[in-house]
Amino acid sequence: MQELTAQLREKAKELLDAKTVDLVIGYGPTGDNGEMTAVFARKPEDVEKLGLNGQCFRNLAVYLNKPEVRKQGKPAIVVKGCDRRALNVLIRERRLAREDLHIIGVNCDGVGEPLMGKCKFCSVHNPEECDDVLGDQIEMPAEDGQFDDVGEMEQLSGDERWKFWSEKLGECIRCYACRQVCPMCYCKRCVVEKNIPQWVETSPHLRGNLSWNVIRAFHLTGRCIGCGECERVCPMAIPIGLINKKLTKLVKEEFQFAAGMTDDEKGPFSTFDLDIDTDKGIL
């Protein structure tokens, strides 16, 4: 890891010195506990703030949506395999152009201690199509059972599921941290902020909470790359990632689609396929 940090600093310095990019978005330790947060290196001397270790949870792709970051010029961004998928989705949705980005991929063998759940099932340890890649190739087969937790939930009866979700979602305080941290939630005006008519009730009450969490997940159908940031930042520890995961599973089974694998794919709702779509369940 020490070695990777040195490599990253060297690379960032090289890019900033040559003015290939105006800004390097990476990770760096901050605060008393050295938590790895986003670091924006604008000058060659800033690169000393950059770092890499097994605690780089964040999906930095979210910053590429922010106008205040965009106006600073061409960015270089440090991505893990999962974050690279997020970039693919942003590129296919025309939020970004590939040529306006310098991508520094990091081969990642999982983050967290113990390993985060998503990392066990990860199939993209080595990010593809990057301008630079740091670290050695990682051979780490994905474990089976990615959707076991979704399956368990599906086994329950409808009333049990309702009980589970009404308890969990009842705790939501509507801080919208899940939205803010999500690289795909880039609408300038989110549906919860539309108030003529008021689509989603804004007070932290189960009725609005249910609508919010359902519609948030639905808007990410076929777009969510499963970085799990929404769940990680949730201050009430609501397993909202599970709803997204259910939709990921459904999209995989029904439409044979996984988000963010290439940057010219079409999302499941922006296309249709007469060969596989059926009238199942339609009167």
């Binding site: 939930m153 599906e154 409808g158 009333d159 049990e160 599921r161 309702w162 009980k163 589970f164 979700w165 009404s166 979602l169 549906v191 008519p197 689509w199 989603v200 009730e201 009450h205 189960l206 009725r207 249910l210 609508s211 359902v214 519609i215 997940a217 639905f218 159908t221 709803i243 259910k246 939709l247 459904l250 999209v251 029904e254 439409f255 499941p268 709702f269 249709f272 007469l274 779509d277 009238d279 199942k280 369940g281 339609i282 009167l283």
Partner: protein
């Protein structure tokens, strides 16, 4: 406090419950189909409230949630048969989007039968009448949709329903 009790005690015996159904019909096929049912004097239950939309592909899942929040016991979305869409592909998109949304509702514990999707063409007045009778019967069988209702006091305020 006293006065509210008085109001409750003096109000008439609770109305007999009958289901509210909200239907989003596409302008070109299903709405015309429902029109045809009327012109042909087919009888069907009057529990259904129709909202005309340009296309079944226009139906945002938010409409469905909002209908449930406002006290619907069952929501129906109806459009043209595949291949007949006035806008060529709207119902193909609906056919992906809406069943996915139904699965999502089911996942959070809402009975998927409360959200129905159908294809009714402008010539299918008889199908429309029969389907509305069927889903009204289904809604009666499922009973009042209390999940959302329990969360609000709207049911109390809806004195004049049906």
């Amino acid at each position: 406090m006293e006065s509210t009790q008085q109001v409750e005690s003096t109000s008439a015996a609770p109305e007999e419950w009958s289901p509210s159904i909200v239907a989003f019909l596409c302008n070109w096929c299903s709405y015309a189909g429902a029109d045809l049912a009327g012109m042909s004097r087919f009888k069907y239950p009057a529990n259904i409230r129709i909202v005309k939309v340009p296309c079944s592909g226009k139906v945002d899942p938010m409409f469905v949630l909002k209908a449930f929040e406002s006290g619907a016991d069952l929501v129906l979305v109806s459009g043209c048969h595949p291949g007949d869409c006035h806008y060529a592909t709207g119902n193909y998109h609906a056919r992906r989007k809406l069943p996915t949304f139904r699965t999502l509702l089911e996942f959070v514990g809402i009975d998927p039968r409360r959200f129905q999707i159908s294809w009714v063409s402008a010539a299918e007045g008889a199908k429309w009448a029969k389907m509305v009778a069927d889903i009204t019967e289904l809604a009666e069988e499922l009973g009042p949709f209390e999940y959302f209702d329990r969360l609000s006091d709207k049911r109390k305020n809806r004195q004049c329903r049906n």
